[in-house]
């Protein structure tokens, strides 16, 4: 295995994130090819955590942009500081040179930098996390294209601002809608799947060192079998961890029917799913995984 990839896997492990070789290679390319990385996968598989861990691993800042419907340039790239501009106009309105006044108020001093502009203005490369891009409008995807391909942003009054240092861009999506081909073409791609049983036990044991191996194994078997059922929202790794924590707090050593009835709320977030599980016995979810 490549030395750098091996170091990535080890370092991430120390930061409590267990990387597989394929994902580590994607991160390695993100750094070396300087292309954004698009991560898709079900909610709760650790996409956002990956960006946080990368920032921690590199010892750099994480700039996070949480996407939502209606996100626009003024909240993501830049906005003019209108109060400051108006104040400046009031102060110097007696000056004869109106043109110079106009030029002054459209300078960088009057720009409020939003996350995307901040990320390319930083002296040291930062990790830019554009989280849940599928929640944003398609217009916003179009804004992003220039940044993703050329690491620059065009502001009509100022011209093009090129990155001082190229940020490491990670985009995440839960596939609630299809992203445009234009955006996909500019990115490296990785599908983050649910982990294997062994890997998930490792994750739980790493995050919760006090947990008994038997309990961790039962939690993972239960969750893996749950994922095979057709649920509205299959539980992710975050839910496995929450449940394991809950069971630890209750001093459980084995999963029982009573415990499931009382704690399943930390795993399933939909009434139909909860009812589905409550109508079954624990043993139905503890059969061995292939």
């Amino acid at each position: 295995m490549n030395k750098e990839i091996e170091t990535l896997i080890t370092d991430f492990y120390e930061h409590d994130y267990i990387l597989n070789e394929a994902l580590a290679t994607s991160l390695f390319l993100l750094k070396n090819l300087e292309k954004p990385l698009l991560l898709e996968g079900n909610p709760g598989v650790g996409k956002t955590m990956l960006a946080k861990t990368l920032a921690a691993h590199l010892g750099t800042n994480l700039i996070r942009l949480q996407c939502y419907e209606g996100l626009d340039v003024s909240t993501t790239i830049y906005e003019w500081n209108y109060q400051k501009q108006l104040l400046h106009i009031k102060l110097f309105e007696q000056d004869a040179d109106k043109k110079a006044l106009g030029n002054q108020i459209f300078g960088m001093d009057y720009v409020l930098k939003r996350p995307l502009l901040q990320s390319i203005s930083s002296e040291k490369p930062v990790v830019l996390l554009i989280d849940e891009i599928d929640r944003a409008d398609e217009e916003f995807e179009a804004y992003l294209l220039e940044l993703l391909s050329d690491f620059q942003i065009s502001i009509p009054e100022l011209g093009t601002i090129t990155a001082v240092s190229k940020p490491l861009v990670i985009l995440t999506s839960n596939r609630t809608r299809e992203l445009s081909d234009a955006l996909r073409r500019r990115c490296l791609y990785h599908w983050v799947d649910f982990p294997s049983k062994t890997k998930e036990i490792d994750i739980i044991s790493k995050k919760l060192p006090n947990i008994e191996e038997e309990l961790a194994s039962q939690v993972v078997t239960f969750i893996h079998n749950l994922r095979k059922s057709s649920l509205h929202k299959p539980p992710g790794i975050a839910e496995s961890l929450d449940w394991a924590k809950t069971l630890l707090l209750m001093n459980a050593t084995n999963i029982t029917d009573e415990l499931v009835q009382n704690t399943i709320g930390s795993v399933l977030k939909h009434k139909d799913d909860v009812d589905f599980v409550k109508n079954k016995t624990v043993q139905e979810f503890l059969y061995p995984i292939d």
């Binding site: 295995m1 990839i5 290679t25 090819l33 073409r185 490296l188 791609y189």
Partner: protein
């Protein structure tokens, strides 16, 4: 080393073409990135090379899931062996046509007269492989073409879904949104510098699909089901029924986003798969049990059936007439229409024809793609 890299780059271009033929969307930037990977010497480590190309060439989950197999096929000397194994597996499946999945995948149809069907499929000649497959009747696709057709269908349906999305986008601005405009102006000292507009979106349609899954129809139903699954998010409401001798409401099974899982679930749950056809009885049952809920002047009803009724024709005629009266548009898809010289002269079809708004074929990929216009424009 330089010569090695040059030869390797040629092979890399071959691989790019190989993936492109399998519906990977790869342009010069991807090839350039692949060259960069080769120049950096990543190809010396097979896993590193594989995962690097995977990150660069894959743009969607569907690509991601298939890439490793394609990579192994292309770069491995065992390709021929694997192909043989695959063919053997398909043959093995054909010998056991009693499971729902196999019937669902239409493999049953190839059992009776495989040679004849294969020849019929090859009769459709076109400019290239894709065009030939697009125009080949689903029931006449041979086993070796089936995988290729699946890939092609996946890609074409995806492209169509993107077209649907674009059409539903807001093309025109609506009226000025006074509340938002005032809210926006607060940060600018109350000056109305930017106006905010209301959105005017095309309204999504409500559609009911009623599919015949009797013996003669299940291959067509399979592809139509896949087609509908791609489109489901672009309809305001989409209801899905299957029938042969009895009617089954399968919409709840479409809840998952996993296409393969849906197909398996539907295959498991539709008990009347590949049996006789009682169209009139099934449509009457649809009217009495679901009509009040799923029929209105906003609904498009699409029925897929060959119209070969084994029950009462009067009941069929009456049911179709009532459905037409209660819905906005009634579309009948009959795969037999794709056959040369077909005339709707069977008793069933003759009686329903006067009540239909559209009568289409849906027997191959091309005809399914033409439905797009019908579903968007009505």
């Amino acid at each position: 080393m330089k010569e090695v890299i040059t030869t390797f780059k040629e092979r890399l271009i071959d691989f790019t073409m190989y993936c492109r033929e399998r519906q990977f969307v790869l342009g010069p930037p991807e090839t350039r990135d692949a060259f960069e990977i080769a120049e950096r010497g990543y190809f010396l480590d097979r896993k590193l090379f594989q995962y690097s190309l995977k990150a660069v060439y894959c743009k969607r989950k569907e690509h991601f899931d298939r890439f490793d197999e394609l990579f192994d096929r292309f770069w491995s000397r065992y390709y021929e062996d694997k192909l043989e194994q695959r063919k053997a597996a398909i043959k093995h499946k054909k010998k056991e046509p009693d499971t729902a999945t196999i019937i669902f995948l239409g493999a049953k149809f190839n059992v009776s007269k495989p040679l004849q069907k294969e020849q019929e499929a090859k009769k459709t000649v076109g400019a290239n492989e894709s065009i030939r497959l697009r125009m080949t009747d689903f029931s006449k696709v041979n086993v070796t073409d089936k995988e290729r057709l699946e890939e092609l269908a996946e890609e074409l349906f995806y492209q169509m879904s993107m077209r649907f999305k674009r059409r539903l986008e807001n093309a025109n601005r609506g009226q000025i949104a006074i509340r938002n405009t005032i809210r926006q102006s607060i940060s600018k000292g109350g000056m109305l510098l930017d106006l905010s507009y209301k959105r005017k979106r095309k309204e999504k349609r409500k559609v009911v699909f009623i599919l015949d899954v009797s013996g003669s129809m299940d291959t067509y139903s399979y592809y139509l089901l896949r087609y509908v699954m791609v489109l489901k998010k672009y309809f305001k409401s989409l209801e899905f029924f299957t029938f042969s001798t009895t009617l089954t409401h399968v919409t709840p099974l479409l809840r998952s986003n996993n296409e393969q899982q849906i197909l398996q679930e539907v295959g498991k749950n539709v008990h009347s798969w590949s049996s006789g056809t009682k169209i009139g009885e099934s449509l009457t049952e649809f009217l009495s049990s679901y009509g009040s809920k799923f029929l209105s002047q906003k609904h498009i009803v699409v029925i897929l059936s060959d119209g070969l009724e084994t029950g009462s024709v009067t009941q069929l005629k009456e049911a179709v007439r009532t459905i037409r009266r209660k819905c906005k548009t009634l579309v009948w898809l009959n795969p037999l229409k794709g056959m040369q010289g077909y005339q709707p002269i069977q008793k069933g079809m003759v009686n329903v024809m006067p009540h239909l708004d559209a009568f289409e074929s849906a027997h191959n990929l091309d005809s399914l793609l033409k439905l797009e216009k019908l579903l968007m424009d009505v």
